[in-house]
Structure formats: C-alpha cells, structure tokens
C-alpha cells in the first residue's frame, strides 16, 4: 500500500498557500457579489450566480465521469476484453446498464425520446418502490407502534432518559398534537359539521368540539412551522457569520501579505 504520508500532505498544503490566498480572495469577492443582491438584482449578482452554476455543473459532470461511469462501465469492459463480454455476469452488471444508459441518451431529442422510456421507467419504478417500501417499513409502522408503547408511564426512554410523569405528559402532548393535526386536515370532518356551532350564548357562537380540535391542530402546525423557521434563520445566521469571518480572514491575510 502506497499512500501519502502526513508530512507529504502538509508539504503539499504549504506549497499551495499562495494559491489558497488567491482562491480565498476570489471567493471573498464572489461572496460580496452574491451579497450585492441586497440592493436588488444587478450584474454582479448575476455573474456570481452564473459562475456558481457553471462551476457546479462542470464539477458534477467530472465527478460522475470519474467516479461512476469509468469505474462502473468502461473499466470492466476494458478489463474483460472481447472474450469476456460473453460472461453472463458481465452482461447483467455492465452490458445491460450500458444499453440502458445509451437508451437514456435518446431522451435529448423529442423524436427519439420514446426509446429512452425503458430506462426512465426502470428508474422511476424502482425508485418509487424503494422509497414507498422504506417509508412503510422504516417510518410508518415502527413509529406508530412506538407511539402506542410510549403510553406506558413506567417505560424509560433509552436515549433521553424520560420517565414517569414527564414522559407521560410528553407522550400526551405528542398524541394530542398528532390527532389535532389530522383533524385540521379534515380527514374525518365534513365542512357542514365543523361550521355548526356547539351553542350560542348571548349571541356568542361557541364552537363545537371538532372545531376546537381543529384549532388545536392549527396551533400545533403553527408552532412546528415556527420552530422550523427559527431553525432556518439560525442556520442562515451561522452561515452569514461564517462568510463574514471568511471575508475578514481573507482581508487580514491580504493585508499581512502586502505588509
């Protein structure tokens, strides 16, 4: 086994200090260009976006060729040679996928697009089967069973350590939130039933129990979206802090190198 040692990697990193500085400077400029969207859509922002999309597309293409196509299709055929092409295992694992890939290329032209339908059907069908099967066996059934078991106040959560009344209250809140959210989406309530008030006292409409449950579900949904939005804002602020730190480090590095 011949791999680079840590010293060699470090030496290579030192050689690229100047290159890293230039790259950091360009990255800082592109960051400022992207932030210029603050004053509205402008050519600098568009240039930064075009560069991002173009570089990303080129990089993805290169990765796909070097990490997927060459080791998966080209090298096995070259290693097997013409004689090895008749190998049933090679046919199943390489030739058939290669034919499907070639058929998929026909999708680029509308006149020949129907020939690529076989590959597309295989992709979509297998993908859908995997996702649906995984969702049922990995999420729906296990989490439903676990939710029923959590009603036991004597049970102790292995990871969080919740037990006793705390766990019971937590489970009740989860149960109410789940049912109320389902009620809110009207899976079982007709429109006419929920509009009927439970009573009218002194001209005040007292909503029925179903409408109350619906309101609770609405509240749970609002809280959930609020938490998710707060998390997104927090994540964005962390990214902004990282970018500002990066720009400051770059400016400091440039100033130090000049000085």
């Amino acid at each position: 086994m011949v791999f680079l040692s840590g010293g060699e990697v470090a030496a290579r990193g030192r050689d690229m200090d100047t290159a890293d500085l230039i790259a950091s400077f360009l990255a800082s400029v592109l960051t400022i260009m992207a932030l210029s969207y603050l004053i509205g859509d402008n050519p600098l922002f568009k240039l930064a976006m075009h560069l991002l999309i173009g570089v990303a597309a080129g990089y993805v293409g290169a990765v796909a060729v070097h990490n997927v196509l060459i080791p998966g299709l080209v090298e096995p055929i070259l290693e097997a040679g013409l004689v090895g092409l008749a190998d049933p295992q090679l046919i199943v694992t390489v030739i058939v996928p290669l034919v499907l890939v070639i058929l998929l290329f026909f999708k680029v032209a509308p006149s020949t697009a129907r020939y690529g339908t076989v590959s597309l059907v295989l992709l979509v069908g297998v993908g859908a089967a995997v996702i649906v099967g995984g969702a049922i066996t990995g999420t729906l059934i296990p989490l439903t069973l676990d939710s029923m078991e959590t009603l036991n106040p004597n049970a102790v959560n292995q990871l969080t350590g919740e037990t006793g009344i705390e766990r019971f209250l937590n489970v009740i809140i989860v149960l109410i939130g789940t049912l109320a959210t389902l009620f809110y989406f009207r899976f079982t309530i007709r429109q006419t039933e929920e509009e009927t008030p439970f009573a009218i006292v002194a001209g005040v409409r007292i909503p029925g129990p179903l409408s109350v449950i619906k309101g609770i579900g609405k509240g749970f949904i609002a809280v959930t979206f609020g938490v998710m939005y707060a998390g997104a804002v927090a994540a964005t602020l962390i990214v902004l802090a990282e970018r500002m730190q990066f720009i400051w480090d770059t400016v400091s590095g440039v100033i130090d190198s000049i000085g």
Partner: protein
C-alpha cells in the same frame, strides 16, 4: 350552352344553336332583304336532285333549313303549321314543287304592298328584348322588318281561328314576361298604336293556342333543331378545325324533335378523372338548383323566350344572388364561434386607448437596507472588534450526553462511516456543528471513511476533516479514506447497505500512488474488515435536510444490525428528525443539531472549535434578528391599533 367550341365570329352555337352573342337588331333593312330575296329565289327555283334527295332530317322536317339565318323562315313555317299541323310528309314534298308554307308566303306578299313600311315604333317583342339587352340595343336601331312577317302571319292565324280568342288567357310566356319588364318600359306599350294593341291580343290568343297544340307550342329555335347541328358541322369543317375534332362522330340518336325528345336521348356527361379530382366537393354550392323537367320554367326574355327546358338566363345573370366564387360554407362550432368572439373582443380592446398608468414613485428599499445593515454590523462587530462577547451555553441538550457517550464507547478497530450529505451552501453551519463531533472521533483515533450521496459532498468532506487531519496525525488512506460519490439516491443507499463494496467501486481523492497502482478505497487498511454496513462501528449522517436523514433511517437502518445511526443536522431540519430519535425503539441513536449544541460539545471535548469561534457572531446576529422581529411586531401592532382607533 353546350360548351362545345365554336368559331370566334359565330353568333350562335353551331352545335346547339344557342346564341353566343347578344341579339343586336340591325337597322339596315337591306340585310333582311337579301336573305329574303335569297329565300324567294330558292323557293321559285325548282328543286334540284340533290335537294330532293337531301338528308333524312331535312326531308322529314320541312320547317328545318340549313343555315341558322333561316330563323325567321321557321316562324313562317310555324305560321303555316297553325293551319294544318302535321300535314307535311315526305310524299307531299315529293309531289309539290312548292311547299304550302312558301306558297302562303307568296300569297301574303301578293296581298301586301312591296316592302313593309319600317315603323319607328318598336314592336312588342323588340320592346321586351330591349329590356333584357338595353346596352346593346340602345346603340343600334331596331330591325323591325325581321319580325313583320311573323306578325302578319299571326294576324292571319287569328283570323283563321277566331274561336281561339274565346279561350281563357293562360299563364303564357308573354304574360310572365310582363312581370319581369320594368314598368317604365311597359309604358310605351300603352301608347302603342292600334295594330300593336291588336297584336297583343293576337299574341295572347296565339300562345294559348300554341300551348294547346303540344309540340307546335314551341317556337323554332335552332338549338332544338337537328338540322341546325348538321349545318353547324359543315361550318366547322369550313372553319378549318383540327382533325381530331372532325373525327368526333355525331350521336346516332340525334334529336330531331324539340327538347322533350332531346333530353331523353342525351348521354350523361362524364368528367375525366383528373377533372373530377379537382372538382370541389361540398365547398361550392350551386346557386341554381336544377328543377325537375315538369317544374322547369319557361324562358321569358332573350332569344330563348318562350322555351321551356332551357337554362334560365335572367335568374342566373341579372338576379341578385350570392356569389358563387369563394362562397365557402364554413361549419362553425360554438367553441369556434366563442373563440372568434374572444379574438374580436381582444382586437377591439387593443384598438381602445389604454388609460395612462401613473408612474409609481420609486421607493427605496429603506427598510430592507436598514435591516440588512443592522444585521451585518451585528455580525461583523464580534469578528472585527471581539465585542460584544456572549457567554457559552451553560446548559447542553439532553441528547448531547447520549451522543458523547456513544462516541466514547465506539470500538477502535471498527471504522466509522461519515456521510456528508449537504450542499456547499450549508457548509458554513454544518462544519461548525459537526466539528466537535469529528474532533472527538479523530481524537480517539477512530478509523474513518467518508462518503456522500451528492456529487459535491466528497469535496466538502475533504474540507470538513482537513482541520483535524494534521492535528490528530491522520494520513490519507491510513486513518481516513474517502469513498466518494454514491450515485443513485435512495436506491443506491439500499444497495450500499446490502453490499457496500459493489455500490462504491473506486474512491475519491485517493493518494496518487494508490491510483497509479490501480487500487481502490476498499484496498485501504481502514476498510479491511468491512464487507457490510454492519461492519462499521457507527454511521453518521451530516445533512441539512430531513429527507436525507429519513432515507438513511429507512433504507440503511434495517441492514445495520447493532451499528448505531447518528444524525448531525442543520437547525431547520431537527424537528422532523427528532421523532426517529425519541421513539422507544429509536432509528437514530444520536442527534446533534444547532450551534449551541456544538458549542456545548466542544466544551465537553475541552477543545474550542469552529462553534465557539463563531459563537459571538452568531449571538450578535441572533440578537439583531430578535430585535428586528420585535420592532416589526411593534410596528404591526401600532398599525393595527391606529386602524382600530376612531380618529
């Protein structure tokens, strides 16, 4: 009428006898004198042998003559036929040198003075014809002499048949003709002299009599006379027509009698295939419907006046009708009509002048710029000046302890698989959040393998572990190896869970020596004992969205055995992944989310990292965001309160 070719100068069709040029009454009486003299001369001359033998048609039809110029003579014959219709026979022609009709002509000529006085007043027939052809007749004087003799003959016939005057007036052609003639043209007739009035009565009586006589009711028209066709053939030969035209043989059953017989013997017209193919079908509709023969009207004007079974000139030429050219009958459905109306309305709206839109005042995004500047300043101040400074979190999330303990208990001989499933845009957050986690594992010297289901994830893995490689003495390929990009999404994750070595074939960023030797990442000592996913000591998924975490929990977890699954999340994705962690049989064995948890993790590690480095900036930014939110809520309440206040 028949469509056959004729000579350019021919006034009448040589085949059917139809008039090709409008009838122009010549004022020169000399012309009529010539042909009349010629006829007289022929009548006085004894018949030659050729004439006596003649063609069958000529002999059997005494009233038929060769030339089309004999039109007037036919009238005379008609007059003679009024006395003894059908008295002519072939034997009679042979016995008499001079036919009766000619004898009658001579008798009348003897009774009348030579040369009829040319009257300036138009005859009734001329008046009717002039109504039809005003333009032509207006330029030339009327040739009344050509009709004098027929009129006289009609007078004589009236005298011979006085009983006909008592017959009721039938709907004759002349009576119909009056319906088409404008009143101003009929007025002169009211002022006509006595002879003309007498002539009008005579005509009415004569018509009724002619109708009663059957065949004799039809006037002599060359178009319905077989002899005219023969004479026309001779004229065609004289015109020097091409040979192919001369080869056309006449029909065997040529009509020798008027229209009733001719219509039954006519061969149906056929069109060649190419012409039939070009003929429009259901596009152009004929204006004039061909009526049954019984219902056919009688021509009232023109040279064919009085004839039935002919194409009516007046309704076709002069009557207002829908143009047959381009009269396409469009089958318009309601939808097409609605679309046409819509298009029409759109066009109308386009023609209308749109009201001027007042220019909106360009409003500067003052609020947006102010908020952005406020947040940027809040974030930059701790980075540049180091102030304000915020205290590190004293409390840590409950799940952090479980994760920390899990990492601490991992076996050193089993590698840890770290999946970097996030895009470059989230690198700033997830590098800081996962830094302490990676630091703990690499501080323990655990073998590590990185992978990603996103093409850019492999490069992000290099960046994420790079700060700890040197600090903890890791070597590429020795302590850590990068498997690279796993293409295929959820399907590939399942395939990788079942057989990792077939899912990832090569590796990413392998040492050059290993690449030159043709080695893959699986040849690295890090993955020597790994044949399945359960051979890893732990699988950690660093992701920014809950979907990727759910895919690994659903697709890979069933094949992981006792190997724990840990998720390092962005703060926004945590609520959707937490149920997998808090259930009694957790799919996720550990969860790390958010910068506060990462800062607390670093505190546990005892080594500051990116989380603590950005903690002040993050704190200032969060404070600024909270202030902005509070100001916004206050501004909204103020607007709401001002809207409710009566003032």
């Amino acid at each position: 009428m028949c469509g056959k070719p004729n000579h350019g100068d021919a006034e009448e069709c040589a085949h059917c006898g139809a008039r090709l040029k409008p009838l122009q009454v010549s004022g020169a009486s000399e012309d009529s004198g010539d042909w009349l003299n010629r006829i007289r001369k022929e009548a006085e001359e004894p018949p030659t042998s050729a004439d006596s033998e003649g063609t069958g048609s000529e002999a059997e039809s005494p009233g038929f003559s060769e030339g089309s110029d004999d039109f007037e003579i036919d009238f005379d014959e008609l007059r003679a036929a009024e006395g003894d219709v059908g008295s002519y026979s072939k034997a009679d022609n042979g016995e008499k040198d001079v036919p009766d009709w000619l004898q009658r002509i001579r008798e009348k000529q003897a009774e009348e003075p030579e040369g009829l006085p040319i009257s300036d007043e138009p005859s009734p027939e001329d008046a009717l014809r002039a109504a039809a052809t005003q333009a032509q007749v207006a330029d030339e004087p009327n040739d009344l002499s050509s009709f004098d003799e027929p009129l006289d003959a009609l007078r004589a016939a009236a005298a011979e048949h006085p009983a006909a005057e008592k017959e009721p007036e039938d709907s004759t052609d002349l009576s119909r003709e009056e319906e088409f003639v404008p009143e101003q043209e009929l007025e002169p007739a009211a002022e006509s002299p006595d002879w003309l009035q007498e002539m009008g009565e005579l005509d009415a009586d004569g018509e009724g009599e002619l109708d009663a006589d059957g065949e004799g009711a039809l006037p002599h028209v060359p178009a319905l006379i077989g002899g005219a066709d023969e004479s026309a053939d001779q004229e065609l030969s004289d015109l020097g027509l091409p040979d192919w035209l001369g080869e056309i043989e006449p029909l065997e059953d040529e009509p020798t009698s008027p229209a009733s017989d001719a219509s039954t013997d006519l061969a149906p017209a056929t069109l060649p295939n190419w012409l039939e193919a070009m003929r429009p079908v259901d596009t152009f509709r004929s204006v004039v419907e061909i009526e049954p023969e019984d219902d056919q009207a009688v021509e009232s004007v023109g040279p064919l006046a009085g004839l039935s079974g002919v194409l009516l000139a007046e309704p076709v030429v002069a009557m207002p009708r829908t143009s047959s050219v381009g009269s396409m009958q469009l089958d318009v459905s309601e939808r097409q009509y609605a679309q046409a109306e819509l298009l029409h309305r759109l066009v109308d709206e386009e023609e209308q002048e749109a009201p001027g839109v007042p220019k909106r005042r360009t409003r500067l995004a003052v609020f947006r710029w102010a908020i952005a500047a406020f947040v940027l300043v809040a974030v930059s101040l701790p980075i540049i000046t180091g102030a304000p400074s915020f205290a590190l979190p004293g409390l840590e999330p409950r799940e952090l302890g479980a994760l920390f303990r899990l990492v601490e208990r991992l076996p050193a001989e089993q590698p840890v698989l770290v999946v970097f499933d996030y895009e470059p845009g989230y690198a700033g957050e997830l590098e800081a959040v996962s830094g302490a986690f990676l630091d703990q594992m690499m501080a323990r010297g655990l073998l590590m393998a990185s992978m990603s289901t996103r093409p850019t994830g492999s490069a992000l893995a290099l960046i994420a572990v790079d700060p700890f490689v040197d600090s903890h003495g890791y070597e590429n390929g020795q302590g850590i190896v990068h498997l690279g990009y796993l293409s295929g999404g959820p399907t590939a994750v399942q395939l990788f869970a079942v057989n990792p070595r077939e899912a990832v074939l090569k590796g990413f960023a392998l040492p050059e020596e290993a690449q030159q030797a043709g080695l893959s990442a699986w040849d690295s000592p890090v993955l020597d004992n790994v044949e399945a996913l359960s051979d890893f000591g732990m699988v950690a998924v660093i992701t920014a969205d809950s979907e990727s975490a759910r895919v690994w929990a659903e697709q890979a977890r069933p094949n992981m055995g006792d190997t724990p699954l840990v998720v390092v999340l962005s703060a926004g994705a945590e609520p959707l992944v937490r149920p997998y962690f808090e259930s009694d049989n957790p799919k996720v064995g550990g969860i790390l989310s958010g910068l506060p948890a990462a800062a607390a993790y670093e505190l546990r590690n005892g080594r500051p990292g990116l989380a603590q480095e950005r903690w002040d900036a993050f704190g200032a930014a969060m404070l600024a965001a909270e202030i902005v939110l509070l100001v916004g809520v206050g501004y909204g309440l103020l607007i709401w309160w001002r809207g409710r206040s009566p003032g």
